[in-house]
């Protein structure tokens, strides 16, 4: 039973990380109608900036503002210089342009930092494990990620539902033209939304640093899963992104953890392991296909 709870915590933690990326992506996709493949690059920029500052100054905390600032600045610059020209173009142009941004970012990071991954230590007081339940030790750092992720989700909920800018964002995601017709400075709104999305991606990148390898191309590894989250949750819906992230995080973890074991009941060991690994890596994509069949607009978009 403790193993099961531990696996659920693992799924939750993975889901929360996905959410930080998916929230920005779904806003950008839903409100501006831009497919931003370079979202993963901002995640990488956040990870690098935060990690470098944290190692240079020796303080993990200074890494956080550095990661957020770098990601938001790079995001806003990206919107101003490139994305802004793409709003009226079709999705193929957007994919081409943002894909080229990925290549440019990867090469620039390689030029500055080299291909060697960076080392970042877990902050001292988060480096141990906490006894969540009797007999269940869980790494403190991963718990911290869950807490931060849930706090961000709550903050976004309040921002989107209780503030004026949130109202504009919601309006923008349902009817862009009407918002523009009402005299709202859509350009500014877009830059702000893009910057916010970038900020969250940067936070996710920095928090992933002590767990993953901070290296070139780290964004692309997680980007595809993030797109699956956005599609399953419904484009433009933060609430959808939140629930879809947690759902996919838990499903992915559960498949990896339990599918080979289940298959081993009916098959020979090594074959079951290989087949289980294969099916579990397809799991979230299968889910996406099913969701697209039943609810083409995503699980959390109200039927209109």
């Amino acid at each position: 039973m403790t193993l099961f709870i531990e696996q659920m915590l693992n799924g939750l933690q993975f889901g929360v990380t996905l959410f930080l990326l998916a929230a920005g992506l779904t806003l950008i996709f839903g409100i501006m109608g831009v497919i931003n493949l370079a979202h993963g690059s901002i995640y990488m920029v956040g990870a690098y900036a935060g990690t470098v500052v944290a190692t240079q100054t020796g303080s993990f905390w200074l890494g956080i503002p550095a990661a957020l600032a770098a990601a938001a600045l790079v995001g806003a610059a990206m919107e101003f210089l490139v994305i802004r020209r793409l709003y009226q173009r079709d999705h193929l142009d957007q994919v081409l342009a943002t894909f080229s941004l990925i290549l440019i970012f990867n090469q620039v990071i390689t030029l500055i930092f080299g291909r060697q991954p960076l080392f970042v230590a877990t902050p001292e007081f988060l480096s141990g494990s906490i006894e969540v339940l009797p007999g269940l030790l869980y790494p403190a750092y991963r718990l911290a990620i869950i807490v931060v992720g849930l706090a961000v989700a709550l903050g976004l909920y309040l921002l989107i539902n209780k503030t004026r800018i949130g109202m504009l964002v919601r309006a923008g995601s349902t009817n862009r033209d009407m918002v523009r017709a009402l005299g709202v400075d859509v350009r500014l709104l877009y830059t702000v939304v893009f910057g916010l999305g970038a900020l969250l991606a940067g936070l996710a990148g920095f928090m992933a640093g002590p767990i993953l390898a901070v290296q070139v191309g780290m964004g692309e590894q997680i980007l595809i899963t993030t797109f699956v989250v956005v599609v399953v949750g419904g484009v433009g819906s933060i609430r959808g992104a939140f629930f879809a992230s947690l759902l996919l995080g838990v499903i992915d973890t559960a498949l990896r953890a339990y599918l080979p074991g289940l298959l081993r009941q009916i098959m020979v060991g090594p074959e079951a392991d290989a087949l289980g690994a294969g099916i579990s890596s397809m799991g979230i994509y299968l889910l996406m296909a099913i969701v697209l069949l039943i609810r083409p607009k995503g699980l959390f978009i109200p039927k209109s």
């Binding site: 060697q116 960076l118 080392f119 992933a208 070139v216 191309g217 953890a257 290989a274 690994a277």
Partner: protein, 389 residues
């Protein structure tokens, strides 16, 4: 990256056909992984190879050499396309460089079937070592399984009774697990195939903890290995369950990236930077002079691949048109490998010694790999007997 203008290249290759046999530059095509998280593997192979050229004024075996490098992006399809382009546009006949077994599996058969030569500086999947062996296919690194056979042997010698094994779900991962199991005499407590693009191992680590094995063996090269080891340590497993690794799961870069928490890990390898032979000392000194980054065994293999080509170019005087003579001289392995004793077995894969290494604190306080003993001597691979040439 040496990207040539296609028209110019086509013109040049036409010229080189006319002047075939003359002692002009021999082209060597390097298809390797330079981008993405595994980019440093290819970078080290490339720079190790280049180092051997630079130490000899751009020549190998006294013959001027032009190295053409292209990035396969860890995509098997790219590997094949690059090969076809290099062969048809630039007339390249000597190839090397592939890091990953899935790229090698798609590319190497085409290269050698076309009559060109390929020397592998890294990947050597089992399907190309036995029945699928080829007279133009040489490997200077190891056969995939051998890496992990040494780890299995060492885990047995250390007296572990049951092991939990993990590797990514691709050819080299399967080779790793079968290699380890072939030489490990204890029980297998659990076996997990991870994904090649996985970034989070929490679910697998929870299973390891629940299985309570004596020892963990895992194969995760490059960035995967950094992630795995970090998370292993954060999960508190490093203190309770020891790990025996093969060289790819703890190279110089991974060691630097995970820092002090690596101290105490045991690794088996065919080469280490502290090997006490002249060729190696020269290589290590030249690397430190040329590059400001950790030295990995990938670089040593790139270097040895260059030495292997150099030996054959020297013996044939740079004439690569006589494939039989070139092949014969390659087979002799007439070069001084940085790892000491080295020869080719019947399937043209290495016969070499395997050593146990341990991570210890170096004199300057940073963790380093220290050679502590020999595990297997004159070891070949399990597939050599199946090879008919």
């Amino acid at each position: 990256m040496n990207m040539k203008i296609p028209f110019l290249a086509a013109g040049l290759s036409a010229l080189s056909v006319m002047s075939a046999g003359a002692a002009d530059e021999v082209k060597i095509g390097m298809i390797t992984t330079l981008s993405g998280p595994a980019g440093y593997l290819g970078q080290d192979i490339r720079d190790g190879f280049k180092l051997a050229m630079e130490m000899n004024d751009g020549k190998l075996g006294g013959v001027p050499v032009e190295l053409i490098v292209e990035d396969d992006g860890l995509k098997p399809g790219n590997g094949r396309q690059i090969f076809e382009r290099m062969q048809s546009d630039e007339g390249v006949k000597l190839f090397t460089g592939i890091v990953f077994s899935n790229v090698a599996g798609a590319t190497v058969p085409d290269i050698v079937d076309s009559g060109s030569f390929y020397i592998s500086p890294n990947a050597a999947p089992s399907n190309l070592a036995g029945k699928g062996c080829h007279e133009n296919y040489f490997v200077v690194s190891w056969q995939n399984d051998s890496l992990h056979e040494s780890a299995g042997q060492y885990a047995t010698e250390l007296g572990y009774k049951n092991a939990f094994v993990l590797a990514p779900n691709y050819q080299a991962g399967k080779d790793a697990i079968s290699g380890f199991k072939r030489f490990f005499k204890g029980e297998i407590a659990g076996e997990i195939y991870t994904r090649l693009d996985q970034t989070d191992y929490a679910a697998e680590l929870a299973q390891v903890r629940a299985a309570e094995p004596d020892v963990v063996f895992q194969f995760h090269p490059g960035g995967l290995g950094i992630t795995f080891l970090k998370q292993y340590q954060q999960a508190g497993l490093a203190d309770s369950i020891p790990m025996v690794l093969a060289a790819p799961s703890l190279d110089g870069v991974i060691l630097q990236a995970i820092g002090d928490s690596a101290v105490g890990l045991t690794v088996t390898a065919h080469w280490n930077s502290d090997f006490d032979n002249e060729a190696n000392k020269e290589f290590v000194a030249a690397w430190k002079e040329a590059y400001d980054r950790p030295l990995t065994y990938y670089a040593s293999q790139g270097y040895d691949a260059a030495l292997a080509y150099a030996s054959a170019l020297k013996a044939t005087g740079g004439n690569i048109d006589d494939a039989d003579a070139f092949r014969e001289s390659l087979r002799k392995a007439d070069f001084t490998s940085v790892r000491g004793d080295f020869s080719f077995g019947p399937n043209q894969h290495p016969v070499q010694n395997w050593y146990a290494l341990k991570v210890e604190k170096g004199e300057d306080g940073t963790p380093m790999l220290k050679t502590i003993g020999e595990v297997l001597s004159g070891h070949s691979d399990a597939y050599a007997a199946e090879c008919q040439m």
